[in-house]
């Protein structure tokens, strides 16, 4: 809420340090006010509260008081030790105070008027001792079992919450989930500032924890149910749907790791940050394609997170080696990380939750999910989960590579179609069975934002990885496998014949040219001979004429002399 941030009267908030929760609530719990955390047994109320206190101390420098109505101090310390919280140390350094308030109905007899000033004094004393800013009351409802006079109790609780507020203490009050209302004793009546509901649902033997901010006075907040995780890292809430649609869009092109495949798109690869689906039946090499992509990304120095749902990291590394890719070096260099997920171990939400956390922790550039189809469940749920997953990736500009197993046959099932509409690019791997052999082919169904080849290409998985083969495209259609080979052989011999015929014709022409040239030479020679003869005759004639002239002149002279 950037608009809120500029307002001077914005509600001050106390960060819980719980990953995701501060995002949903746009900053944490209302500062200096009580918040009710309610939920059924075992849903993580105490843990939530403890985390709030410990983070307050370790991250925000705010000492805290834990007033426990149920667990003894010792138990509390032990319970959270597994999460790496060292409460004893915090107590020793006077950052944390734990007071176990024991309420034993059998020991207490009521006689006349009383109030709960003793509790106030205890809280006040603990707070003053360490200068606490945060308080947890877990679970205040236990008091209802200890006192018979409910009207006193209720008015005292009201006074207590007011008192905590007056003292400017950010407080978490936990409450057990009741029938028909949020808490058994209707505590939500008294705590009107912020109410958070935790839930623990079992569907198909799979537990999913969810969290919802029921109300938050004076502040906007995410209203959905958000899944949350409790594991060795404490609580992680996943504000998955909070990711907006305004994502960074990149025009940068990244290689798929298979140069031939890159060439099938006009831009020579795929957009960074896009999601690419590789679908195909069993044995078409979907994982091999993703290995290539991983290899390419890591060799560019990018970080890669590989969610393997069916194979272990060792198997994938070994298999990658068989196609000439050394992925192990990238694991060692810290560029590549495998996260093995077991699809049926958690619900979809939990998987999403884990991925979300892993993404934020590892900050990858490329994420591989192999295969998507391992997620089983109601189609709409799978679809919704994947949509959110893709949102997660897009919001971070992460390139996503998803593989999906399709069943044999032409028809694509609904799940695949649903997924495909979310994807930016879709490469379909196929097995063509013909002439008693199986041939692997692929084509690009779509590649948003760029033109791409419409060809069906044959590929082979060789020792050097995936290699695409120039398809045979002839008048007889697209041929693959040995059909392509024989057709190519046939074409080669035909061409050879054509070449030979051509050669022959060339030789013929050359020969004819020689013959004609010879003829021309002969004719020229004969004409030259004729010319020679003629000129000889002409000169003979001239000589004769001269002789005649001369003799006639002689004769005339003689005649004249005689006359």
């Amino acid at each position: 809420m950037p608009a809120d941030a500029t307002l001077p009267l914005t509600l001050a908030k106390s960060q819980t340090g719980i990953v995701g929760f501060d995002e949903i609530t746009l900053g944490g719990l209302p500062n200096g006010r009580p918040t009710l955390i309610c939920g059924s047994a075992g849903c993580g109320k105490t843990l939530f509260a403890t985390t709030f206190l410990v983070n307050g101390i370790t991250q925000y420098g705010e000492p805290g008081v834990f007033i426990s109505f149920e667990e003894r101090e010792h138990d509390l310390v032990e319970n959270v030790a597994s999460l790496g919280f060292d409460l004893n140390h915090l107590i020793a350094t006077r950052k944390l105070a734990i007071d176990h308030v024991r309420v034993e109905r059998a020991e207490i007899e009521e006689n006349g008027e009383y109030d709960l000033e003793g509790l106030f004094i205890r809280i006040g004393f603990a707070v003053d001792q360490i200068g606490a800013k945060r308080v947890v009351l877990d679970t205040v409802e236990t008091l209802f079992a200890g006192f018979t006079d409910q009207s006193i109790l209720r008015s005292e609780l009201r006074r207590l919450f007011g008192w905590l507020k007056d003292r400017d203490l950010t407080t978490i009050i936990t409450g057990e989930r009741g029938e028909g209302q949020l808490t058994r004793q209707g505590l939500e009546e008294y705590v009107s500032d912020c109410v958070v509901l935790l839930d623990n649902r079992v569907t198909d033997q799979v537990v999913t924890r969810r969290l919802r901010v029921v109300k938050y006075r004076g502040s906007a907040h995410g209203t959905n149910e958000y899944p949350f995780l409790i594991d060795v890292d404490g609580i992680t809430v996943l504000p998955i749907t909070s990711s907006g649609r305004d994502v960074r869009v990149s025009t940068e092109i990244v290689s798929s790791g298979i140069p031939d495949l890159d060439k099938m798109t006009r831009r020579g690869g795929f957009f960074r940050g896009s999601s690419i689906l590789i679908s195909g039946v069993a044995g078409t090499g979907k994982t091999t394609f993703s290995m290539h992509a991983v290899n390419a990304a890591c060799s560019r120095g990018e970080r890669c997170l590989y969610f393997a749902l069916e194979e272990g990291p060792e198997e994938i590394c070994r298999n990658a080696r068989s196609i000439g890719l050394d992925l192990r070096q990238y694991i060692e260099a810290g560029l590549l990380r495998f996260e093995a997920l077991r699809p049926n171990l958690y619900g979809l939400e939990m998987h999403l939750a884990r991925m979300h956390r892993d993404l934020d922790r590892f900050k990858p550039d490329v994420v591989v999910l192999d295969p998507l189809s391992a997620f089983r469940g109601p189609t709409f749920e799978v679809h919704a989960t994947l949509l959110r997953m893709m949102d997660l990736l897009k919001a971070r500009g992460i390139t996503g590579i998803f593989t999906s197993l399709t069943l044999d046959g032409e028809q694509t099932d609904n799940a695949e179609l649903g997924m495909a509409s979310l994807m930016d690019a879709w490469i379909r791997l196929m097995d063509i069975e013909a002439n008693g052999e199986r041939t692997r082919t692929l084509y690009i169904i779509k590649a948003r934002g760029m033109s791409h080849s419409n060809q069906v290409r044959e590929y082979q998985i060789t020792d050097n990885g995936v290699v695409l083969i120039e398809a045979y495209l002839g008048p007889e259609g697209v041929l693959t496998g040995t059909a392509r080979l024989t057709q190519e052989a046939r074409e080669r011999s035909a061409q050879k014949r054509r070449l030979e015929a051509m050669e022959r014709r060339k030789r013929d022409i050359a020969r004819r040219r020689e013959a004609i040239e010879r003829q021309i030479a002969e004719l020229q020679a004969s004409i030259r001979a004729e010319e020679d003869e003629t000129s000889m005759l002409v000169s003979e004639d001239d000589a004769h004429e001269d002789a005649l002239l001369r003799s006639s002149a002689l004769l005339a002279a003689r005649r004249g002399a005689a006359e």
């Binding site: 007071d99 308030v101 024991r102 309420v103 020991e107 207490i108 007899e109 009521e110 006689n111 006349g112 008027e113 009383y114 109030d115 709960l116 000033e117 003793g118 509790l119 004094i121 205890r122 006040g124 004393f125 603990a126 008091l143 200890g146 006192f147």
Partner: protein
Amino acid sequence: MSDLTAEPDYYQLRLYVAGQTTKSLAAVSNLKRVCEAYLPGRYEINVIDLAQDPQLAASDQILAIPTLVRRLPEPLKRIIGDLSNLEKVLIGLNIRQKPGET
């Protein structure tokens, strides 16, 4: 004192109050009246003002004010409230008879 506390009939009582509130004052006077009437010479009352010694509230698990704790004779008993019901105080503290009526 020490020899008295060993006696089974000796009452060691602690009354927790918080400041001079009406309820606190009432509780103190009610308790004194009962003890004087029923336990003359074999009781001690220790009035603890938590407003002055707040650290004592936790160690004796005090929530309600006023709280009367019977430390002796055992077992430990707690009565909360201003002790306005005399009969209930007697039952609560297990004081059945007046001395002399034994």
